[in-house]
């Protein structure tokens, strides 16, 4: 369960760092399985590298939770599952809505994105009457040590409550291959292997460009409230027009 100071800092900054969330043994297991999975992956998915904002993102594997028991164990990991319950809030108990591994090499970065100016419900931060009601809370796990210049996650603390769009939106910072290195107010999240960054997705974030040799290794699990669960049967979806499919397929982002 989150403590009083963690609640204060999460409300204040939009993120907290959970130190030593995973043991060394768990990290070793995850790294071993990911080495195997990435080795089996023939080449970066060309569709992914064409996606806007993912041109220089790094290599990733989606739906990671399907890849074995080491990844299943992360679903309700005791280091964060009660934090997730508290920050998603109330009777809308959380579900896991995404899981991926991200390896980021030299020259790669995640561009500036998100920020509360959008007032997007899916990723919202909200606190009312003593309870949090967040739309999406992420766990980013460091599987090796993250030093400055390693292409680490960068956040703009407090931007989960921003009323104003960051002036760097619309510049190279959130263009193809962009990074947060030139974004005022952004800070690098430096973590040791096994630490986890918990953050609400409406926090303006991305990463710095990796300047150092080597690869930043990470796992990202995304949680949201359970009202995003309905998956229509394929028979029904096949009968529907694209417009109706778009309205039925609530799990599509």
């Amino acid at each position: 369960m989150s403590n009083e100071m963690e609640d204060y800092l999460f409300d204040l900054n939009g993120y907290v760092i959970l130190k030593q969330a995973l043991s060394e043994g768990q990290v070793d297991e995850l790294n071993r399985d990911l080495d195997r999975l990435f080795a089996e992956q023939p080449a970066p998915d060309p569709d992914q590298t064409k996606r806007k904002g993912y041109e220089a993102f790094g290599r990733s594997i989606g739906n990671l939770v399907e890849c074995g028991p080491t990844f299943e164990a992360l679903i309700d990991h005791p280091s964060w599952v009660d934090h997730i319950r508290r920050y998603i809030g109330g009777e809308d108990r959380p579900i896991l809505e995404g899981s991926s591994a991200i390896f980021r090499g030299e020259g790669e970065a995640s561009r500036l994105h998100s920020g509360a100016h959008k007032r997007r419900m899916y990723t919202q931060f909200r606190y009312h009457n003593g309870q949090f009601r967040c739309g999406e809370v992420n766990i980013m796990i460091a599987l090796n040590d993250w030093h400055s210049g390693d292409g680490v996650t960068m956040v703009v603390p407090g931007s989960h409550k921003s009323n104003i769009i960051h002036p760097r939106f619309g510049t190279e910072a959130n263009g193809p291959g962009g990074s947060l290195d030139v974004v005022e107010g952004a800070v690098e999240v430096l973590m040791d292997s096994g630490d986890a960054l918990l953050f609400v997705d409406c926090l303006a974030h991305g990463s710095g460009k990796r300047l150092n040799p080597g690869v930043r290794r990470s796992i990202l699990y995304r949680y949201g409230p359970r009202w995003q669960t309905y998956t229509p049967p394929s028979e029904l979806m096949n009968r529907l027009t694209p417009e109706r499919q778009a309205l039925m397929n609530v799990s599509k982002r």
Binding site: D11, G158, E184, G185
Partner: protein, 267 residues
């Protein structure tokens, strides 16, 4: 960018906004009052402190001379202050110089968890509506060891009280999330008062000198009952007078006359 950062953090540092010549004029005035005693009045300058600590404040400092009057609508900050207070006119309700000695520090106070209207941060429909915007002008260099103001960035929007309040922690250098705002003489710190703030312990011997201006909407008043002197009001430009006294007293003619106020001034 400044609007974004003010909304994000609740404060801005305005670098090198008052000239060194002007700072020297201000310090020369402060030199004349530095020997004041607790609860002493000297003209309109007042020390409210009852003693017990060596640090004290020179209240109503704009009464002390033209170099301070010039700061009332200083171009380095006045338009930003107007923008952040919003459309309800402007009032400089409090103005003083803070003199702080070695060993003293300002404890943690304020924070948005209070939802106090007087000091609120608010942004709605493209406009700020802040209850109190402070300008802290450094009259001397104020480095980390000099007991600088410390702030908790983003706490002007906090929903939750900082645990340090309930734990009785007041020393700002022990408060998690607090950072120092060191200033050079002539720099100013602009912040909304709902920001949780205080100052670090002063470890150096030279007296820390900062000037504090508190602006609010025109319905703002001085919490200690201080009123501007007729001498000050008569010296000020119309623009400055309107900030010091947004509305002149409006009383029956006989009371206006009894107080030496021009009857025509009432609106």
């Amino acid at each position: 960018m400044e609007d974004y950062l003010f909304d994000l953090n609740g404060f801005l540092i305005l670098k090198d906004v008052v000239s060194q010549g002007h700072i020297a004029e201000l310090n020369a005035i402060v030199d004349r009052y530095q020997d004041m005693k607790p609860q002493e009045w000297r003209g309109r300058i007042h020390v409210r402190e009852k003693g017990g600590r060596e640090s004290f404040n020179l209240r109503n400092i704009c009464e002390a001379g033209e170099p301070f009057e010039r700061l009332i609508d200083h171009p380095a900050w006045i338009e930003q202050v107007r923008s952040y207070v919003g459309g309800d006119g402007l009032c400089l309700g409090q103005h003083w110089v803070m003199l702080r000695e070695k060993g003293d520090g300002g404890g943690l106070h304020s924070g948005a968890h209070k939802r106090r209207i007087r000091t609120q941060f608010r942004y709605h429909n493209g406009f700020f509506r802040c209850g109190q915007i402070n300008i802290l002008l450094a009259l001397r260099d104020m480095d980390v060891e000099d007991g600088p103001t410390m702030v908790i960035p983003g706490s002007h929007k906090s929903n939750i009280i900082h645990p340090a309040f309930n734990e009785g922690i007041r020393r700002m250098d022990l408060v998690e999330g607090a950072i120092p705002a060191p200033l050079k003489a002539g720099d100013a710190l602009l912040f909304v008062d709902a920001l949780a703030h205080g100052s670090g312990p002063k470890k150096t011997t030279e007296t820390r000198r900062i000037m504090v201006f508190r602006y609010g909407p025109r319905w703002n008043t001085n919490p200690y009952g201080y009123e501007p002197s007729s001498e000050l009001l008569s010296r000020l430009t119309p623009e400055r007078r309107k900030i010091i006294q947004p509305k002149p007293p409006n009383l029956p003619p006989e009371e206006m006359t009894a107080r030496g106020l021009p009857v025509a001034a009432a609106g």
